[in-house]
Amino acid sequence: MKGIMTPRHVALWIAFAAIMLLLPQVVSNGTLRIIIFANFLAIFAMSWDFLSGKTGYVSFGHPFLIGIGAYTTAILSYRFHMPIEYSIPIAVLTTIAGGTFFFLPALRIKGTYFALVTLAFMELIYQLTQVIRPDLTGGTRGISGVKTLLVGAVPNYYFSFLLMLGIALVLWVLARTRLGTALDAIAMNEEAVSGSGLSTTKLKLFAFMVSAAVAGIGGAFYVHYLGSIAPRALFDIDFVFTIIVSALIGGASTIVGPMLGAFFMTFLLEYLRPLLPGSERYLIYGLVALVLYVYQPKGIYAIIADLRDGMRSKNANNSKNSGKVGDGKAA
């Protein structure tokens, strides 16, 4: 078995972190705000990737998990004046518990049907938040005036980036252990995995819990960054679309890919803004996503890996390749 983290990987991660940490010296606060959003989107996309990209159980209802995390901490801190140090961990635990709602159907159904159940979960919670105890959830209008954690673009940028980096490293290392390999195998052939004497139920439960925990962390901190929450913005098919597309465009099942994808999609949308001020942006944005997905379902990660391989073979340098190349699969 290859080493989980080679010196080259360490160097790449450090270089990435260094560039990102120096960024506030160079770019404007407006751009930082965009990157903060990209950081949170990357967290959501990686959470999606760990569940759906890895195990092949495609979730169309990830905002269900994110929403549980966000709403729990928002309600606890805003309605019950609980300090954030307590409300966020409780929110994450609640989200993990919510992840088992995703897990139950996954015991029996997969593929298309699983995707639909998760979509139904999202619609269900969307309608429930408006009806059940609107005095707590704020109903259709949601909650605004939630305590924010930090003030200003620069501190928020550093915080969201470090949060994202921490999650990325943990998930990336997890994905490269034998456990991660087993999860990949579930996506390919679940019967074969259980035939090899591994408990697919336990493996799936693990993936779902990790994914839910990440979604909960992301959701909870996101609401304390925004300071407000509303059901329509959260439990929305457009939000699902953004998460899934980021993960797929980046490269499903690679963890690094969804991170790249989140940055790519966010900046695509932002750079289209001056060119196309109106809603045409979303048309172009969607078309780019569709064409990229149909052209290379393995995403940007695979495109980069292919390019790198092309350069390598040109240099006739067949040194040991430490990266997982081209084995990222479409979800």
Partner: protein, 283 residues
Amino acid sequence: MTQILIQGFLLSGLYALIAVGFTLIFSVGRVLNLAYGAYIMMGGYAYFYAVHIWHLPKTLGFLSAVVVGAIAGILMYRLLVKRLEGDQVAVEISTLILAVIIQAGIVLLFNDSSKILLPIVNGVWHVGSTTITKNMVMAMIASWIILGGLLAFVKFTHLGRAIQAVSMDPKGALISGIRTDRINLTTWAISGALGAVAGVFFATHTQLNPSMWVSPLIIAVAVVIVGGIGSIIGSLIVAHIIGFMEIITSTLIGAELRGIFTMLLIIIVLVVRPQGLFGRGDL
């Protein structure tokens, strides 16, 4: 009580109409077309454009909806679904992306404000204390005629039986000399047209706006999943279960809760009985 019965039948008729095109694709192509809601939206907007902006007669409005829906279906199959060669999850994801693209296109063409579509038939009837719009009755009658026609088409015509054959066993159909590709194309066109017609009625029932595609899509998904995949009769029955459940909850409990039981039904049926209430029928 009569109110529940009448409104239940009317709403269920509309739901059956919405679901049937979706069922057709699922049974023949074995793929979930998440852009199906977009047909519904495009049908509604095509009718709006023809009748309210160009002031064409209503028949031509319907005709334009049918044409737009059928073309959308054909393009979707040719350009996207065929390329992905039966990879179910890839089709789902790419049709979801497509639906969002179409939504953006609609915003671009018609801007994102809601538009009211005037009823196709004006007037109301009073039955006891209940008021029934003639428009909903028309939608129900149209739905029954279309469903009956479709059932007859599938059972008794050559093309319909070929569609049935492909839905049962594509390879077997191919060996028997059926051009499965052409059958698939036809089915996508029919599904698009059915969706678009349903869209006109749905739009008069609610209103036109660029995000109107989500709720009919969920209804179609619920009907297909709960009914058992690809059974037209099963879909019809489940459309009535869902329609009546919505009416009963909104009259007896509260209008806000009407959608919740549909979601619960999807979740429970999928978890407890993934093959659907009426099994995996063939058309």
